[in-house]
């Protein structure tokens, strides 16, 4: 293998050197969107593009803005696409609409390997352990028993030249119990070219952003077209952070917000390595009767048309503004927003497709999982449902029922891979058409398996988590969609992935002190039994010989005194 690399290296070396245009590009942006219920959604996006095909990344021996650790990691494990995210809190789908990237509580990893990977399972294991070291997360708990290879749900995000995409190379796993905190954010920030020293990343102050209603951190690697003809690809790495703040909780009940108050610091310095550094504030829903005023006034305002859905954004160029401030000897960069009148809460229209999942049944023997998918559109919608259930909840597939408004419906496709104890999770994928204005219920039953004594987590009575189910669909209505102004050029209709809630299932737990009790009891019994048995077996019984002495008076008196 090394020899092949070496030869390719020798052959391709001149081309690499001649191509002076090979460079990487870094850009950053922050999208601030007021959510329908008054909360503020902040989406940070840091994008680094390396003009090198991901499959030839091993030829790159000098990384400029592209993180070296990720570059080496990709070329070592022959990765084509990678999506890694960590989330904390629950995205309120019904009130907040669709985010740019949906991340449930816990960790999620989805990797597509390159086609000529000689040992995909080994790469997968190396990927999980490397990422666990890189991001201080317990991803090494992802083993074969937690991994699935989805068939229909996860379509690639990036470009696959000559249709080289093979679903067999896709690996997917989630860890619902994974905690997210500063230790994950710290190494993530260190991958950025300006670290957290300058630019928008300097706003990511751990104490502030963990004091929020929702937080998600992600890293995505994919291939994009290098030129319009798309015969060559570049490698793009997108790091994003999503934070939702509740302004009344931070501004004494007032509906206003400011960057300094949210992030605890003002933007002091721009990242000079960034080709663009922008802050967008969505002003689409800025009502005429009670609008909010942004200060300072935005430099420009753009209007984007996303397949008929119009959005307005106020644009701030961070580099220009900091430069301007510096010239005027102002060292504080802040954007704040205030309503002219009292904020009025309005009825929020939920998105037209929502999914919620919950546990049914009682006791610790049998149970069921139900997912309720609502379609409030007046036309049918095709969706793909993916559910991965750990092996210790044994799914009975014959109990699977899909009903819509109490009428049974047939899925267009159903894939089920039964779980194997300690080796493979249960994997269910369903493609179905949701009837117009319907409430579709997918339900199936399971039986809880007995775990071995040592397999229980330390807090066994807390229960175990089941990762979120994924619902994928191509929207026909873009109303509740969050649209990033930099993404409007793509002509393909976007694919929306929404996640259901994680489930917490209690397992039948043994009495962990039982071995100690048994040891104590058995030891007591043995001790009690041992004494008499030992006496019986080791001592010889003898008839005591009555002495003939003591018949006379003198002896009797002597004996009497001796006894007393």
């Amino acid at each position: 293998m090394t020899l092949i690399y070496f030869l390719t290296f020798i052959v391709l070396l001149p081309c690499v050197h001649l191509d002076e245009a090979v460079k990487d590009d870094y850009s950053e942006s922050l999208l601030i969107k007021p959510l329908p219920d008054g909360m503020i959604y902040n989406h940070f996006q840091f994008k680094t593009i390396l003009h090198q095909d991901i499959e030839y990344l091993h030829l790159e021996n000098h990384f400029d803005r592209f993180p070296l650790a990720i570059g080496n990691f990709i070329s070592k494990n022959l990765i084509k696409e990678l999506t890694f995210s960590l989330g904390r809190g629950h995205w309120k789908l019904n009130t907040w609409g669709y985010p740019l990237r949906y991340q449930p509580n816990g960790a999620e990893l989805w990797v597509t390997l390159q086609n000529f990977n000689p040992n995909p399972w080994k790469s997968w294991k190396d990927i999980t352990s490397t990422l666990s070291g890189l991001f201080c997360a317990s991803l090494n708990f992802i083993d074969k028993a937690a991994t699935t290879k989805p068939k229909f749900s996860l379509k690639p995000d990036g470009i696959f030249i000559n249709d080289s995409y093979r679903p067999d190379n896709v690996f997917y796993a989630s860890l619902a119990h994974e905690a997210v905190c500063t230790e994950n954010l710290t190494p993530w920030k260190k991958l950025l070219p300006c670290f957290s020293k300058a630019g928008l990343a300097s706003l990511l102050n751990a104490v502030q952003i963990f004091n929020s209603n929702y937080f998600a951190l992600s890293l995505d690697v994919k291939s994009i077209c290098r030129n319009p003809s798309c015969n060559e690809t570049s490698t793009e790495i997108t790091q994003s952070v999503q934070v939702v703040f509740n302004p009344p909780a931070m501004f004494e009940g007032k509906h206003r917000w400011s960057i300094v108050k949210f992030f605890g610091t003002s933007l002091k310095e721009e990242c000079k390595l960034a080709s663009s550094s922008k802050i967008y504030v969505e002003t689409t829903v800025n009502d005429t009767d009670n609008s909010y005023n942004l200060s300072p006034l935005p430099e420009t305002s753009i209007e984007s048309d996303f397949q008929g859905e119009k959005r307005r954004f106020a644009v701030y160029d961070v580099k220009k503004m900091i430069e301007h401030n510096r010239n005027n000897n102002v060292n504080k960069f802040n954007i704040y927003s205030m309503y002219q009148k009292e904020y009025i809460y309005k009825k929020v229209n939920p998105p037209y497709i929502t999914a919620h999942r919950y546990i049914t049944g009682y006791g610790v023997y049998l149970g069921g999982i139900t997912c309720r998918i609502t379609n409030s559109l007046t036309k049918a919608q095709n969706v793909t449902y993916l559910d991965v259930i750990p092996w210790y909840l044994r799914i009975y597939i014959h109990t699977l029922s899909i009903t819509s408004n109490n009428v049974e419906i047939k899925p267009s496709k159903l894939y089920h891979k039964p779980g194997k104890d300690r080796a493979q999770p249960h994997h269910i994928e369903i493609i179905l058409e949701l009837p117009p204005l319907s409430d579709t219920i997918i339900t199936y039953d399971f039986e809880r398996a007995f775990l071995k004594w040592t397999e229980f987590p330390p807090d066994a009575n807390h229960g175990v988590y089941v990762g979120a189910a994924t619902l994928t669909f191509q929207p026909t209505n873009f109303q509740n969609l969050t649209i990033h102004p930099e993404h409007t050029e793509s002509l393909d209709p976007p694919t929306i992935k929404i996640k259901t809630e994680n489930l917490l299932v209690s397992l039948p737990t043994p009495d962990f002190s039982m071995p100690y009790n048994v040891i104590c009891l058995v030891s007591t019994v043995i001790t009690l039994a041992f004494g008499p048995i030992h006496n019986l077996t080791t001592k010889r019984a003898r008839i005591a010989i009555q002495s003939k002495e003591g018949s006379n008076l003198k002896d009797r008196i002597f004996k009497f005194f001796k006894r007393s």
Partner: protein, 316 residues
């Protein structure tokens, strides 16, 4: 007679020689031979009410990091997530003081083993270097025969054991055997073992490998007590021994001449309430001559190798 005089003169000259160099020789042998410093900091307690154990370990983490041991050489094990625990009213922070002067979690922390990963098995594997294939470097103790290691353990203990995660225990015998394995594999030069648990003395009692100094926060039969609680968090925030040890460590800087013997006296009984115990018999240097930075900081000695001659160089 002449030969006798000769002998006396000879001896006296030798002893004079010896006398003038005695300090030099003593200095030479009392200096540590270590070239790198590592720290293994373990909090083995789960659940919110054990907040103080996480605060203990993070206080030490902060000190060793300040004194120059980089994150790549600190193995931090936290059995539960306290900073972002739903019960923490100030997410992302861990305070070791009710006055909230110092957020010991900071903005730059790297936790290597966390949550369910903190097990006896992983701890022993880490020490002995018998980690599973593909374990990332940040989760390995890549020490050699010239590494000084600071091992700090905190949690709930008893006579001869330390509880991990409220579900399993490491015994002092297992710990002693792990250290012996490390010694045989030349994985350390010297070890400073600090145990902040109840009956902590017992953890160092079974050790039999050389160059280890063991500090326990309490005698066998004694409880190790917490220092004070924080009403805004609702739990105790730090243990007594670590509180006073930290107070002392805050006065130490990387060039400081403070010695190990002064560290051994940081918590007298009237402050600690428990008796701090020290096991010195395995340690061959005099603690009064050992700079504290031999364990808590990273002040490596650079060994220069002789420059190879041109003809010795392997050229391609």
């Amino acid at each position: 007679m002449f030969s006798l005089i000769c002998l006396i003169v000879c001896f006296s000259s030798i002893s004079r020689c010896y006398g003038s160099n005695v300090d030099k020789v003593d200095n030479f042998f009392s200096k540590s031979k270590h070239t790198n410093n590592w720290a293994v900091l373990v909090c083995s307690s789960r659940y919110w009410f054990n907040y103080r154990h996480v605060a203990n370990v993070l206080s030490i983490y902060r000190s060793v990091k300040r004194l120059g041991i980089p994150d790549s050489r600190i193995i931090l094990m936290l059995a539960d997530d306290m900073a972002c625990n739903p019960r923490n009213t100030r997410p992302g922070t861990v305070f070791n003081n009710a006055h909230h002067q110092l957020n010991v979690y900071g903005d730059d922390v790297e936790v290597d083993y966390r949550g369910y990963e903190v097990t006896v098995k992983n701890f022993i594997r880490l020490l002995t270097g018998r980690v599973e294939d593909g374990t990332p470097r940040s989760k390995q103790l890549l020490t050699d025969e010239s590494s000084n290691i600071l091992i700090y353990l905190t949690g709930h203990g008893g006579d001869g054991f330390l509880k991990f995660q409220d579900s399993e225990e490491i015994t002092s015998v297992e710990l002693a055997d792990a250290f012996e394995q490390m010694w045989q594999k030349q994985r350390y030069n010297e070890i400073l073992l600090i145990t902040e648990t109840c009956q902590a003395e017992s953890m160092a009692q079974q050790l039999y490998s050389p160059n280890i100094i063991g500090i326990g926060s309490s005698k066998i039969g004694e409880d190790s007590l917490s220092h004070h609680g924080d009403p805004t968090i609702g739990v105790y925030v730090i243990d007594r021994y670590t509180y006073y040890a930290l107070e002392f460590l805050e006065t130490v800087h990387s060039n400081s001449s403070k010695t190990l013997s002064s560290f051994l006296e940081v918590c007298p009984k009237k402050y600690c309430i428990s008796t701090v115990t020290v096991r010195k018999d395995l340690f061959h240097r005099d603690p009064a001559q050992v700079p504290l930075t031999d364990f808590f900081g990273s002040v490596p000695k650079v060994n220069l190798m002789p420059t190879p001659k041109d003809e010795d160089l392997v050229t391609w």
